[in-house]
Subunit: 240 residues, 2 copies
């Protein structure tokens, strides 16, 4: 008899997998990807992958196209799975049963499932937020309850093995938090140093008084209609 | 005689152009690109493009590849030109005379030339920082003086029509500042709201005591040697 070909003293690599799909908001994926890629450089035992349906360029909501590194079929089992968000294309993806199946399968293979921005709406549509506290982009927060989630207004919220961040740039904060959980605060602070994340928003913090959800309700409604015109049942559920 | 085919009451679109090259740090480009793409959505008269040598996937320092939207030959004259940075591949690009020529030509056609992170080393190598205050990633700051620039430790610094940001995530702050300059503070604050840029670094601000440049000098030296082994003259100039 022979020993296993993988020596037991080798710690298996923990993979942080980011899901890519057409039309997403690239900062949602690149913020936390950069953080975890630095983790992989600075500490042994971590790797990052970007997973899509095919390894080919996909449009984003900017002029940049992105190409994933793996398909869902070739990705290693992720320790952490992160789903980024976006605007109309992400809302439309809530009706993409093939993508939702991919998310369910990948989440079942991961230890932690996370999202940035409206990525949590995809987790919700996949049935992964039932009974859980969750957040999303502020303009979409009311939709979380449609999937049995409990909307929470925090930069990120972890409930069991599901962590969801607020909009777009919040993925950076969530990723640093997860690096701290995985590798300790000292490593997280080193990653923060290397991405020089010492924010100085030039006009100060957001004035949340200016972001009255009621004021933006028509814009949200318009995006839902634009994205889900061919999916009247889901549209009705979200706009009820 | 006919009038010009462009009605004079139409304001020409101001293009914000981002330079892409192989091996860059994607957060350097995507942070400010997302900010300016929101400007283009929220205010009339702005557009963003990503410019590379060819419209094809290029590797980054993460598993993600990026595809630009334009070549240098097809890009419109930029109002703002922004050059992102990176690690070893960016240092190597300081010896890429073709890219440096592209940067000189594009900068001459732009109103404002900017950089994120070590992108300023490319501006320096192209001769565009002579006598100007500039910043870069903290680990590389001492190199700026080799190109006649005056190193400044600020989140971003504008000197004449050249603006340079600190490392990686600082491009978001710089971009919001530029949006404020171009379109006013109200628009900039709206962009900030839509990217939900209300940072909460989970371990607080960077502990700069831990980032002693002398401690990191060997790492910087190693990267320079790794990147410029085939360019001994430039290597000697940077390590003198």
């Amino acid at each position: 008899m022979t020993e296993s070909s993988t020596p037991q003293h080798e710690t298996p690599v923990k993979t942080i997998a980011f899901v890519q799909y057409p039309g997403l908001t690239p900062l949602d994926i690149v913020g936390p990807l950069q953080v975890f890629s630095l983790l992989a450089q600075l500490a042994p035992g971590y790797a990052t992958v970007v997973v899509g349906e095919r390894i080919e360029p996909m449009a984003t909501d900017t002029p940049l196209s992105l190409v994933p590194s793996h398909t869902f079929d070739t990705m290693p089992d992720p320790h952490v799975l992160i789903v980024p968000g976006g605007s109309v294309p992400t809302v439309a993806a809530m009706a993409d049963e093939k993508l939702l199946d991919r998310l369910r399968t990948a989440a079942a293979r991961s230890q932690i499932t996370g999202s940035v921005c409206t990525g949590s709406l995809l987790l919700g549509a996949a049935g992964l937020l039932e009974g859980r506290q969750a957040n999303t982009h502020w303009m979409y927060r009311s939709l979380l309850a449609k999937f049995g989630a409990i909307p929470v207004n925090e930069r990120w919220v972890k409930d069991g093995n599901v962590i969801t961040a607020a909009g777009v740039s919040a993925g950076i904060d969530m990723a640093l938090h997860l690096v701290g959980e995985l590798a300790g605060q000292d490593v997280a602070r080193k990653v923060q140093l290397f991405v020089e994340y010492d924010p100085e928003p030039p006009f100060g913090p957001i004035d949340w008084e200016a972001a009255d959800p009621a004021q933006y309700a028509p814009r949200l409604r318009q995006r839902l209609h634009q994205a889900l015109t061919d999916h009247p049942a889901l549209l009705a559920r979200l706009t009820a």
